[in-house]
């Protein structure tokens, strides 16, 4: 064992390589995944397994084709993380080919065709999610009700059976699994409110329905809180900085609060928006992707805030109930511009404005 190691300055310890960072982010999703299993069944585990296998195979094959060091690239866990994030974003009982096509698209097209890790302009998981959403709208919107109010319960074996054949081992289809105890087909809380508003109900009337527990969707609140826990763990360990999630949540809260104050019947409250849908996981795990997000401090604040604005705009006036993926992709496109205008002043140099003149 070396007692004294010589190294030149800066004497910065605890440097993590890419693989370690990606692994820690993967671990941080565990609370959210556990909460998801508790409320919505085991489907998510099968999706994750399928996604990770597809991602590793795709990445490996492409690395061989590009004649790169396959093993080293596979060990950086970036493909695993992208697969994981895609798998937790799609409905737990979606057919197996949905996640396989999606993960292949994320790794092969969105990541490797642009040059691999570090060169992809778009967030692979979110680009794949959007691709799946526009290609297979039925499968991608078949969300299950929380187990506590579902008419049919399902076991791990049922989940496996459903993902691969479309039916549980006792012959129920996903459509039937979506039926709640009151006999109506369940949607996500965001969907429910959106549909209710279109039918002329107010937000408050919509949230009295069975899938709601107060203002929050049953189960969804706890899943969001679990992801929030993982996200705070990441910030505490300095894996991600607080800027993107902070500004994203703040801007989403601010815009939804102002809309709520203008017309509380038409626009849901800020807390409703934050704890329903995927805003939390989006803020802490998806928007913070180090490759496709802005890299400067000021830029991160702008990047996060803009995503928050887009999310609330699309949720309220767009065609889709949730909008993390669209918002992240839109802002991914703006990142080069944001980075260009927010370059920090180099020590010893004057700032850009005076340099240009």
């Amino acid at each position: 064992m070396t007692m004294l190691s010589l190294s030149s300055s800066p004497h910065h310890h605890n440097r993590r390589d890419t693989g370690q960072v990606m692994r820690i982010v993967c671990y941080a999703t565990i609370p959210g995944i556990l909460a998801n299993i508790w409320f919505f069944g085991f489907g998510i585990l099968i999706q994750i397994a399928l996604a990770i296998i597809t991602a590793l195979v795709t990445e490996g094959v492409i690395m061989e084709l590009r004649q790169k060091k396959t093993e080293r690239v596979l060990k950086d866990y970036s493909a695993v993380l992208a697969a994981l994030l895609l798998a937790v974003s799609i409905p737990p009982l979606a057919p197996w080919w949905v996640i396989v096509i999606g993960t292949f698209f994320a790794i092969a097209i969105v990541k490797q065709l642009y040059g691999g890790l570090g060169y992809n302009m778009f967030n692979p998981a979110m680009a794949a999610y959007v691709m799946l959403l526009i290609s297979f709208p039925i499968q991608m919107t078949s969300w299950l009700p929380p187990l506590s109010i579902a008419e049919q319960s399902h076991t791990l074996w049922d989940a496996i059976h459903t993902v691969f054949t479309g039916f549980t081992s006792t012959g129920f289809s996903v459509e039937q699994l979506k039926v709640g105890v009151d006999g109506t087909t369940m949607a996500t809380p965001l969907d429910e409110v959106k549909t209710a508003l279109l039918q002329g109900y107010t937000v408050t009337e919509a949230t009295t329905r069975i899938i709601f527990d107060g203002a929050y969707g049953k189960g969804w609140l706890w899943v969001s809180l679990a992801y929030l826990l993982g996200g705070l763990f990441l910030i505490k360990n300095k894996i991600i900085s607080w800027h993107i999630p902070g500004s994203m949540l703040a801007s989403a809260a601010l815009l939804s609060l102002s809309l709520f104050l203008i017309d509380g019947d038409q626009y849901a409250s800020p807390l409703f928006h934050i704890f329903n849908g995927s805003l939390i996981i989006g803020a802490f795990f998806i928007a913070t992707d180090p490759v496709s997000a802005s890299t400067t401090v000021k830029g991160r604040l702008i990047f996060g805030a803009a995503i928050g604005l887009w999310v609330i705009i699309i949720r309220n006036w767009g065609g889709y109930p949730d909008a993390i993926a669209f918002a992240v992709l839109i802002m991914n496109m703006a990142v080069p511009l944001i980075d260009y205008y927010t370059q920090p002043r180099t020590y010893g140099h004057k700032n850009k404005a005076s340099k240009d003149s």
Binding site: I109, M131, I134, S135, F136, P137, I138, Q139
Partner: protein
């Protein structure tokens, strides 16, 4: 004859209007959801190219240089109108399927590009042949892209062949697979962009392989010659 060979290679491969010049992308991406749509637009574009190249070449010595572009555009527009009326008369359903993209052939840069770059400087036979080859190159890409998207999106090939070829062609339709959940991305415009990008990449890969092969063939020759002239054997 050598010039004709050169024109064919340029039009179909080396200087393909769709893959290399990236001209006429708007109709290319918009109508290639099926093979027959692509083929229909490809034939229409080829006819217009042929006609406009011949006419531009015929009048090339009378057209004042300063106003040549408006004149070319009017010639092209005249041919597009002819093709549009013909399609309206004989392939009405395809005419409706292609919609606005038939009149929009006027704005296809590949056509005015050939008129300006080639037909206005060369005699009629060469210009006509150039128009034909460029049109074929364009049609080829339309058909390949259409086939890719139709196969992925609907699982079929040559759906609606009767719209273009008459009733006997109904049997040409090939069903590769049937699915309840079609891969909508392939049919939607983003799929066209992705497919186009992959086609361009494929062309570049093939070009590179060919280049490598010819290079290694050359090197092999050099080595042989060295052995032949070697004195210490």
């Amino acid at each position: 004859m050598n010039e004709y060979k050169n024109l064919s290679v340029q039009g179909i491969w080396k200087n393909n209007p769709a893959l290399v010049q990236l001209l006429g992308l708007c109709p290319l991406l918009a109508v290639t959801a099926t093979v027959i749509n692509g083929l229909g637009l490809g034939i229409a574009t080829t006819l217009v190219l042929l006609g406009s190249n011949i006419t531009v070449s015929l009048v090339r010595n009378f057209v004042p240089n300063e106003i040549r572009i408006p004149i070319f555009v009017m010639i092209i527009a005249a041919f597009v109108t002819i093709v549009q009326l013909l399609m309206n008369a004989f392939t009405f359903e395809l005419y409706q399927a292609l919609g606005i993209f038939i009149p929009l052939i006027v704005t296809n840069c590949a056509i005015i590009g050939r008129a300006e770059a080639y037909a206005s400087k060369n005699p009629v036979p060469l210009a006509a042949f150039d128009g034909l080859m460029m049109g074929l190159g364009f049609t080829l890409i339309l058909v390949v892209l259409g086939a890719m998207r139709e196969l992925l999106g609907y699982g079929t090939l040559l759906v609606g062949a009767d719209l273009l070829l008459g009733d006997w062609a109904k049997d040409l339709t090939i069903v590769i697979f049937t699915t309840d959940s079609p891969f909508l991305l392939a049919i939607l415009p983003p799929g066209a962009f992705l497919g186009m990008g992959l086609l361009i990449a494929l062309k570049n890969v093939i070009d590179k392989l060919v280049e490598k092969r010819s290079e290694s063939a050359k090197q092999a020759k050099v080595v042989q010659r060295a052995r032949v002239t070697g004195t210490d054997l």
